[in-house]
């Protein structure tokens, strides 16, 4: 594979986000948006307002993360007693009852993965702000990693849905979804959109700038 060592941006070309067609960057137009000549997708040389959007979504997700962990995820009522469980109390319950594998799975998916995503995304954002040229390849890899792991946080939402279905009214016990479930869903959705709005090409733009 031959390589002409230049990026599409440097050559004034735009790569379509959907169909990968390379086209000449349209003349600067103040109105309207440029569309891909092949598939009709909106063309952007870089994802629009990538840094600002990612910051905003990450911060929003961090705020949602607090009630998601503090408020109860499920409310179980059995024989007149009502018990509210947070994510962590569920993890502790599993640890004490010998199923540490399940405790580990829930802890990783619900607590650790969102936290890791915050740390990695903030690190990537800061590295671009401070125009770091260190290890761009590894940073791109980190980005790919955050994109891949984020979805697994949905696990607890599904567990709640399944529990609600299985233990429904008329049974000895009844399980309802607590307020944390909603905040938790918001954490997952906002971090997923945050990862999607981050543009890894910005990492390489800085590197190219410094090399010129």
């Amino acid at each position: 594979m031959k390589v002409t060592r230049a990026s599409a941006l440097q050559l004034g070309l735009v790569s379509c986000h959907a169909c990968h067609l390379l086209s000449r960057k349209p003349k600067a137009s103040t109105h309207g948006v440029a569309c891909c000549p092949r598939c009709g997708e909106e063309l952007h040389q870089r994802k629009p307002n990538s840094l600002m959007r990612t910051w905003a979504l990450v911060l929003a997700a961090i705020i949602f993360y607090i009630p998601a962990n503090v408020l109860p995820m499920t409310i179980t009522s059995a024989l007149g007693t009502v018990q509210a469980d947070t994510i962590m109390s569920g993890v502790i319950y599993f640890m004490q009852h010998g199923s540490w594998e399940i405790a580990l799975v829930i802890f990783t998916a619900s607590v650790f993965v969102p936290f890791l995503k915050f740390v990695i995304l903030i690190y990537l954002l800061l590295s671009i702000h401070f125009k770091s040229i260190k290890r761009p390849k590894d940073r791109t890899r980190l980005y790919r990693f955050t994109e891949a792991i984020g979805r697994w946080s949905m696990l607890d939402i599904y567990v709640v849905t399944i529990l609600v279905a299985l233990v429904k009214l008329g049974f000895l016990a009844d399980i309802e979804a607590g307020p944390a479930a909603l905040y938790f869903a918001l954490v997952v959705v906002t971090t997923m959109i945050a990862a999607e709005s981050f543009d890894p090409r910005l990492i390489w733009d800085v590197v190219e700038e410094k090399h010129e």
Binding site: K2, S7, H20, F94, Y158, K168
Partner: protein
């Protein structure tokens, strides 16, 4: 020979004619830019039809049953979503419905809409917007995580009652693999080129 830019670092590459099953890897950041597929149309269609059959089974047959002495409670894939809806937690119900029920269906119907006309060599309207939609919904299809959720729930309730997995769970589990095979048989570059040639 044509040029494409890596979608993760924007470096331009000259792509020669690719042998089937070969992947084009970016020389700078190492990301897989695309993969050429052999028999993409036939394989995608076969997996998608298999997926649709499994999907119908997964939605219509009993999913999980819970047995505790005389009490027997059977649920379907949609029961939990309906109950969340009734409890008034509509955003949550919608999210679960979208990620585990609607989006997998959109993916399969989208594939049929694109690949059946390609196979028959006919043109259909809106093929390109449909294929774009298909690409955009991909990260939001989360059946494999739902499956893990089932495992966690079984362990969680295991001490309270006996959980009996239904036919639908097996279909759902198979569907995860079949849909993944269908998705990985799609040769996007071939599809875009064919769609472009048609219009």
């Amino acid at each position: 020979m044509h040029q494409i830019a890596c979608h993760e670092c924007d470096l331009i590459h000259d792509i020669p004619a690719m042998p089937s099953r070969a992947a084009a890897v970016c020389v700078r950041c190492g990301c897989v830019m695309f993969r050429a597929q052999a028999n993409s149309i036939d394989r995608t269609l076969a997996w998608t039809f298999a997926g649709l059959v499994l999907y119908i089974v997964a939605v219509s047959f009993p999913f999980l049953a819970m047995k505790n002495g005389p009490i027997f409670n059977e649920t379907g894939l949609l029961t939990g979503i309906q109950l969340l809806f009734k409890q008034g937690i509509i955003p949550l119900a919608t999210l679960v419905f979208l990620t585990c029920v609607l989006i997998p269906l959109i993916q399969m119907l989208g594939l049929l809409y694109i690949f059946v006309p390609l196979k028959l060599n006919v043109r259909v309207q809106y093929a390109m917007p449909v294929f774009r939609l298909f690409k955009h919904v991909k990260p939001w299809s989360m059946m494999e995580i739902y499956m893990l959720g089932i495992l966690v729930s079984i362990v969680k309730l295991g001490k309270m009652a006996t959980i009996i997995p239904g036919l639908a769970v097996i279909a759902f589990g198979l569907l995860i693999f079949v849909l993944n095979f269908a998705l990985s048989s799609v040769d996007s570059h071939m599809v875009w080129e064919r769609l472009e040639g048609d219009s």
